[in-house]
């Protein structure tokens, strides 16, 4: 369903770093012959890949955990925001009421305030019914020439 939304938005290049909640989506990206799937070792490389792809006329998305969004703040600010390059980030929104590890909690606490401080649009998707918002977020990114971050709760990724 998420992959369908990405394809509908014209995205055929996905750079990912795994998260437990993202396993199924990443498996689908890897298996789909219409998607070029690039394996990352660090999330800010995904920002670079998506930005470079857009320069060349190809739409791409970064799939990662919200801690990866935090790690990629400098790349999002310095490349995507500063050069006005749109891209879509699909991130597992770890560390909220639906999570169950001490070490996840800081991510849920600080990710949204950091995105707000950066001036980057972001949306939280609570469940499967709201997944069509991914297409809306992609359109918002391209019209704004800015990265847009979609944060998905556990229920939206099951």
């Amino acid at each position: 369903m998420i992959l369908e939304q990405l394809k509908k938005a014209g995205i055929d290049l996905v750079a990912s770093l795994p998260d437990q909640w993202l396993g199924e989506l990443i498996k689908q990206c890897e298996a789909d012959p219409a998607i070029t799937h690039i394996r990352l070792a660090r999330e800010d490389d995904g920002v670079g890949i998506c930005a470079g792809a857009w320069l060349g006329g190809r739409k791409a998305a970064l799939v990662c955990q919200n801690s990866g969004v935090l790690l990629a703040v400098n790349a999002l600010g310095g490349i995507a925001f500063h050069h006005q390059i749109p891209l879509l980030v699909i991130a597992a929104h770890r560390g909220h009421f639906d999570d169950n590890q001490y070490y996840q909690m800081y991510k849920g606490r600080i990710c949204e305030p950091v995105l707000k401080a950066m001036g980057l649009p972001h949306w939280v998707i609570d469940g499967p019914d709201e997944l069509p918002m991914i297409g809306d977020a992609a359109r918002q990114a391209y019209l704004n020439r800015l990265p847009v971050v979609v944060l998905l709760r556990k229920k939206a990724l099951q």
Binding site: G48, G52, L55, Q84
Partner: protein, 185 residues
């Protein structure tokens, strides 16, 4: 060898429709002095992201060759990107490292480690990665680099020359980005 000599050797080997992504600071100064005719995307801060940006460009333009001119400090900052490049489907992607072992724009502070970029590239899965010193060897290795499919990396050792920071040009990154996209569209 001086960095301008390397920039000229690369320029001589570029085809008309090749695209270039060029690292900031000393690498940018050298390539601009060499006056390339090819569409070139010049890096800004942050360092460390340009190998992945060039990878994205190569994935978007599979029929064109993309060359990344990477400063050594820049590439070192996100060295793991070479692992991502190594397994990506980009026969059109090549990296030339401007390797002088120091941060030239900030006063020549030495880099951490004693790095062989070609050694790292090979160990993460590059089929072709070499280093070169001096103009003759570099010219020969550059010919090999462009004669075979990528991803491939040539690590070129250079003299350590100072490079004062250039003043800002007339165009912002957004304006330069727009012109680059128009040039290659």
């Amino acid at each position: 060898m001086k960095r301008l000599a390397l920039a000229k050797l690369v320029k001589q080997r570029l085809r008309k429709d090749d695209l270039v992504v060029c690292g900031l600071g000393a690498t940018e100064a050298a390539f601009k002095e060499a006056a390339p005719a090819n569409p070139t995307y010049y890096a800004s801060d942050p360092m460390g992201i340009w190998a992945s940006l060039a990878l994205g460009l190569a994935l978007a333009r599979p029929k064109q060759r993309v060359t990344l001119l990477a400063g050594d400090g820049d590439l070192l900052m996100n060295l793991q990107v070479l692992a991502t490049v190594a397994t990506a489907p980009v026969p059109n992607y090549r990296i030339v490292v401007f390797h002088n072992g120091s941060y030239s724009s900030t006063g020549g502070q030495p880099l951490a480690g004693k790095l062989s970029f070609s050694g790292v590239a090979k160990s993460v899965g590059f089929e072709w990665a070499h280093e070169a010193r001096g103009e003759d060897e570099t010219a020969k290795r550059l010919d090999e680099l462009y004669a075979r499919p990528g991803p491939a990396l040539l690590d070129v050792w250079l003299e350590d020359e100072p490079c004062p920071t250039a003043p800002p040009g007339p165009l912002s990154q957004v304006e330069v980005r727009t012109l680059f996209m128009r040039d290659i569209s």
